[in-house]
Structures are given as C-alpha cells and as structure tokens.
C-alpha cells in the first residue's frame, strides 16, 4: 500500500469509527436525550420519578380555564390520544393559545395533575401568511365536517370505541 492510500484508510477509519461510536452512545442515551416526553408516555408511567421533567403536547381546544383574580390557570395537554391536566401560574409565551404546541416543565402531583412551573410554546415548521392559513383552515374544516358526516353514517348504531389511551391506574 502506498503511503497516500494508508493515510486515506486512516482518515476513513477515524471518521467511520467516530460516527459508529457516537451513534451507539446516542442510542444508549436516547431516553435522556429527549427534551420532553409525550402525554401518552406519562399515561404509561414512562417519566422520571422523583424529579421534574418536561411534557409536550397540544393545548386542548376549549380546555383553558383561569381562576378569577389570580394568575392560576388550568388546561389539558393532549397528544390526540391521551389528555393530561396541567395547572400553572405565571407568564405565558406570546404563542400560547388553544391548539398550540406547548412544553410544560414541572412534576406530576399525586392527584394526577401536572403542576407546571414553566410553560414554553412550540411552533411547527410551516410558515404562511394569515390569509392563507385562514383559507386553509376553512378548507380543512369543510373536509373534516364532510368526513365526520360520512363516519357518522357508517357507524350509526355502533358503540363508541375506546379512546386508546393506556390507563396508569394499575
């Protein structure tokens, strides 16, 4: 082997070796690399015990209630499979609204309510003008309404199925 080829091999081995080692390490640390857990994971009990953690999801439509005369507020965070009750008092980011993605930091109380000490807003990767978003939402609502009608016709008389959220009561 020529010296140049040897050097090529050495450089290749370093790059590949580091990539594999890093990949394995990150794989092993996957859980602790997660910035937040989902609501379903909380329901399954997959959250760190005895310490604060973050849970992420969407603020459920129509679930935000405020206590009069104080900053205390309650709402549900959902991942469209499970819901989690969150109580919080403090400042909210500008993006906080119903239907918006949020990441709550805090701990799970005995009564199953998540007591948050910090609420952060998470936005998606789509950027569009307000008018476009409005017309898009309208079109989606129409489509959803049509679909709901269709489903209602199909499932008339059938019992509503389970929501699919695993229970953590056991």
């Amino acid at each position: 082997m020529k010296p140049r080829q040897q050097r090529m091999l050495a450089v290749g081995l370093v790059v590949v070796g580091v990539a594999i080692a890093t990949g394995l390490t990150l794989q092993a640390m996957k859980d602790s690399m997660m910035f937040f857990v989902s609501v379903t994971e909380v329901a399954e009990g997959k959250y760190p015990d005895n310490r604060n953690f973050r849970v992420g999801g969407l603020v459920k439509d129509g679930s935000v209630t405020r206590e009069e005369g104080s900053l205390e507020m309650n709402f549900l965070v959902t991942d469209l499979r499970c819901d989690l009750a969150v109580s919080y008092s403090g400042v909210l980011p500008d993006l906080f609204r119903e239907g918006q993605g949020v990441v709550a930091h805090g701990r799970l109380r005995e009564d199953g309510v998540f007591a948050a000490d910090e609420i952060l807003a998470k936005h998606d990767e789509n950027y569009m003008a307000p008018e476009v978003a409005d017309s898009l939402a309208e079109a989606e609502a129409d489509a959803a309404a049509a679909k709901a009608d269709h489903v209602r016709e199909k499932t008339a008389g059938l019992q509503e199925g389970p929501t699919g959220c695993p229970s953590n009561d056991s």
Partner: protein
C-alpha cells in the same frame, strides 16, 4: 482539468486568482443580501402564528446553515490536506474556522433572540438542537486553540485536522437532532418531503439571503486564505518579490 486544479493549488497562483475572485463573489452576495433584507423585512407577509417575529428567520437560517457549511469546508479541507499533503488545503481549513465560529455565534444569538418572544425562553439547557449547535461553537474554539498552541505549522495542521474530522460527526447530529429526539425547535422547513413549507413570498427572500450569505462567506474565506497563504509562504521567493514590488 487536473492541470487547472494543480495550478490553483500552487500558492502564488491561488493568491493571485483569489484576489480577482473576491469581488465577483462579494458584490452579487451583498446585492442578494440587500434584496433579501428589504424583501424579508417589508415585502414578505407576516407569519400566521408568529407575526412579524418570524422575520428573524432571514438572518437565523442563513447563519445556522453557514455555521455547518463552514465546518464541512474545514473538515473536508483538513481531510484532503492530511491525505494528499496539500498545504493550501490546510490553509483553507485554518481560514474557515474563525468564520465558522462567527456564524455559529450569530446562529445561536439570533436563535436566542427569536426564542424569547416565541418559545418564552432565551435558552433551554438539554434541548438537543441548541446543545449540538453550542457544541459546534466549542469545536471551533478547540480547533483554533489547538492551532494556536502548536508553533510548528505542519504539526498544527495535522493535529487540528484530526480534531476537525472527529468533530464532523456533530454536523449531521445538528441537522437530525430535531427528528431523532424531541426538541423545542421545530423540524426542517426547507429540506423536507414535498418541498419547502413556506409561502413563495416568504421563501424567495430567504433563498436570496442563503445564497447571498454563502457568496459573502466565499469572499471572506478567500480573503482569509490569502492571509494564511502569505504567512505560510513568508520565506519564499515569490512572496519576497511580491512585497518588494509593492503588490497586494
């Protein structure tokens, strides 16, 4: 073709050609940045969720992209320099580092300023995207510190090249961090299935900014490589002739 590359890799040739090339990169680059800034700030519609705060994207995304491009430039040049023993290649790697560090700083700073009003926080420890980008800043610092600590240029070239190559693993981690792990940071807007998730009126200024920043980066890199080449070749005949003749 090979002859051309070989000629370009010769320091005096590169030194002269780079000087000619710089304005050809800088002028279109600055024009694009000028258009992108005006269109991004005043012509593009506001975002349906973030309002006018989204306009920070026009400096945040180009600088974040450049922070990674500069790292790849540095790592690839360092690798080529190691394998083929091309001195100019090491000079390019050494010149890319400070520029990369500046753009990484800019990406972190603008991201932080964007995060405060939108997410509700300047910085969150433990977020994978934020952490991996911060690690890249430290990789640049480490690379420059290592170079500075070794007096012998060719030894510094080889040692720092290994560090640059090892650290290159962080570049894909930055890009995929938002997909592999949960993060406060949203997923990629431009590089995604089905094309960019953005209105054309918002997209074109952004693309202009990205291209403009890249061209200006090219000009800055050439300027830095010229200084680097001049320093490395300071004892050669052609540099002496150049300086004696008062050339630039």
């Amino acid at each position: 073709m090979w002859k051309f590359i070989h000629q370009l890799a010769s320091p005096p040739h590169f030194y002269r050609i780079a000087q000619i090339l710089i304005p050809w990169l800088a002028v279109p680059g600055l024009l694009l940045i000028g258009y992108g800034t005006y269109a991004g700030l005043f012509l593009a519609p506001m975002d349906y969720q973030q309002g006018d705060a989204f306009r920070i994207i026009y400096v945040h995304v180009p600088s974040a992209y450049l922070s990674m491009l500069a790292y790849m430039t540095m790592a690839v040049s360092a690798g080529i320099g190691l394998i083929w023993r091309i001195k100019l290649s090491h000079a390019v790697a050494a010149a890319a580092a400070p520029l990369g560090a500046w753009f990484t700083f800019l990406a972190l700073a603008t991201g932080s300023i964007w995060g405060k009003p939108m997410w509700g926080t300047w910085w969150e420890w433990g977020d994978p995207r934020l952490t991996s980008e911060l690690i890249m800043l430290f990789l640049y610092f480490g690379y420059m510190a290592l170079r500075g600590a070794i007096d012998d240029t060719s030894k510094a070239d080889r040692a720092s090249a290994v560090l640059a190559l090892v650290g290159a693993v962080n570049v894909p981690i930055i890009h995929f961090s938002v997909e592999w792990w949960s993060s406060l940071h949203q997923g990629p807007t431009l590089i995604k299935e089905g094309g960019p998730a953005m209105d054309p009126g918002m997209l074109y200024p952004l693309l202009a900014m990205i291209l403009g920043f890249t061209l200006v980066f090219g000009a800055l890199l050439l300027r830095r490589v010229r200084a680097e080449v001049l320093f490395r070749e300071r004892r050669t005949r052609w540099v002496k002739d150049l300086v004696l003749s008062g050339g630039n």
